[in-house]
């Protein structure tokens, strides 16, 4: 089994993030709070509740090196939380939005973060030493609809966004005084703030969940039409591939290596996509499936499962215990998965990751012994 631990933390989780040492997890239980749980003597205990937002928290990111938490919410505000002694101290970041903030991510160098919003804008926030204040700079008039996801390129300058106008865009976020121009990194860092590098026009419906590969050479995002897109050579002449699959649409993706992507979404079961030697991407299999019952079409059972869900089969106790990871069909999540976060990395490869979804579970997955090594 690929799922090594299942934690039922709440009835519904909108997003989650891990502390730098992975001993704590922060998540939003579908309200205006952020709960932080810590593993104490084999049990997950609630150690902090971050209360400052007025509405649902839609995005959390916990920076690896500086140990700061950034949260964004439908209340249009963002807070950066610093740990001072036992307390988490919030700093308000005024995003200057007139619609909900939807997603957030720290840049790789952790000196900036990006916020996607329902106001058709992206905010790039950075810290101003002299004013002791986080400043928000907006990329306006580029998106025709809500920005559903943001992803930083490893170079700390390029930012990819997906939007409900169906497009995926890449911007330069170069900020004078924050970023330094590197002569070797070529054309991408010569662009001004907010300049659009490329607009990818592949989807006919909402686009969600964008990520860069570890090297930054490949970009992947999903459409609400049960398609996933892979883009190489992001620039003036991008090379794009569409992969259509037979299941319900995805919500987010994660590169676990240059050649392998995990997709999560409405099918409640992570899907593995991989590129072969010639670079052609295809669907490999579900992760939560036993190897014997591979890709045989199971249309009937799919429907009865869905009906089971409709009729309230998924009444699962709020026990906050580790559930035995041996559910019969290997379907661990009982509702849409909307968040996927890497856990342990070895160089460019992610061996472990966690998912959370509308069923209130945080599930940890391990890719070891999954017969997927040819794709790594």
């Amino acid at each position: 089994m690929a799922a090594v631990a299942v934690h039922q933390f709440a009835q519904c989780i909108t997003c989650h993030a891990w502390s730098p040492d992975r001993s704590m997890v922060a998540f939003c239980p579908n309200n205006n709070e952020v709960h932080i749980y810590k593993l104490l003597e084999d049990k997950w205990e609630k150690v902090h509740v971050l209360q400052k937002h007025d509405q649902i928290v839609s995005g959390i990111d916990w920076s690896r090196r500086s140990n700061r938490i950034v949260t964004v919410s439908h209340d249009r505000n963002s807070y950066v939380w610093n740990q001072e002694g036992p307390e988490w101290v919030p700093t308000l970041v005024i995003l200057r939005l007139n619609r909900a903030a939807l997603c957030v991510q720290w840049s790789p160098k952790e000196n900036k973060f990006a916020v996607g919003s329902g106001a058709k804008t992206v905010c790039i926030c950075y810290y101003e030493q002299e004013n002791n204040w986080w400043v928000s700079k907006l990329i306006r008039k580029k998106h025709d609809s809500s920005v559903t996801s943001v992803a930083w390129h490893p170079n700390n300058i390029l930012l990819a966004t997906t939007s409900t106008d169906g497009k995926c865009r890449v911007f330069s976020t170069f900020i004078k005084g924050v970023d330094t121009r590197e002569s070797k990194s070529g054309s991408s860092s010569d662009s001004k703030f907010g300049e659009q590098i490329v607009q990818l026009d592949l989807s006919y419906s909402w686009a969600f969940g964008v990520k860069w590969s570890p090297s930054g050479n490949t970009l992947s995002y999903v459409g609400h039409n049960s398609m996933v897109y892979f883009v190489d050579d992001v620039g003036p002449s991008p090379l794009a591939q569409n992969v259509a699959f037979r299941n319900l649409p995805l919500r987010d993706v994660l590169f676990v290596s240059e050649k392998m992507v995990i997709g999560v979404g409405f099918d409640c079961n992570p899907m593995v996509f991989a590129a072969d030697e010639s670079g052609i991407w295809s669907f490999v299999r579900f992760l939560g499936e036993k190897k014997a019952s591979s890709s045989s079409s199971k249309y009937g059972s799919q429907f009865s499962e869905a009906f089971g869900k409709l009729y309230g089969q998924s009444k699962h106790g709020l026990s906050n215990d580790t559930v035995e990871p041996s559910r019969a069909q290997g379907v661990v999540h009982e509702n849409c998965i909307n968040c996927i976060v890497p856990l342990t990395k070895e160089g460019f490869r992610t061996k472990r990751f966690s998912t959370s979804g509308l069923d209130g579970k945080v599930v940890i997955w391990d890719l070891e012994n999954q017969d997927l090594s040819d794709h790594f």
Binding site: D165, G166, K167, D201, L202, S203, Y204, S205, W206, G223, H224, N225, S226, M227, A244, F245, R246, N247, L248, P249, S297, Y299, Q302
Partner: protein, 135 residues
């Protein structure tokens, strides 16, 4: 969105209609030769017409409908219909269902069941989510 700029203006509608008429004649001759699957493939070829002109869309639907209704053996049809036609076929099945005409709906539902078995729920999602290339 994608391909929107490829849409031709209404001036070209006449050219599209002519092409559909030509397609219609080809389908009739294929049906006479008892090749219903070939006829359906021909009908789905070049669909949906790259236009917003409703006249063209209706004309093309009439042609596809003719080929759809000629299918007797649904399983046999799928054994020789390539997966690349699945998404566009699904769109026309929903158009057929929207007519409310009894024999058309019966036929569309029969094919819909088999198509969903083969192409999955993703195929339905792709046909419903695409609001640009409507049929």
């Amino acid at each position: 969105m994608a391909g929107a700029e490829k849409f031709v203006e209404a001036d070209n509608a006449e050219a599209i209609i002519t092409r559909i008429e030509h397609k219609s004649r080809k389908i009739e001759s294929l049906l006479k030769q008892n090749k219903p699957v070939e006829a359906l493939k021909t009908a789905l070829e070049g669909s949906p017409p790259m236009t917003r002109d409703e006249r063209c869309k209706s004309a093309n639907w009439i042609v596809v409908h003719r080929a759809l209704m000629a299918i007797k053996d649904v399983d046999g049809m799928f054994s020789s219909l390539d997966p690349e036609y699945y998404d566009i076929l699904m769109k026309y099945l929903y158009r057929g269902l929207s007519t409310g005409d009894r024999p058309t709906c019966d036929q569309c539902l029969r094919i819909h069941e088999k198509l969903t078995e083969r192409a999955g729920l993703g195929c339905i999602l792709r046909s419903l989510a695409d609001t640009v290339n409507t049929v």
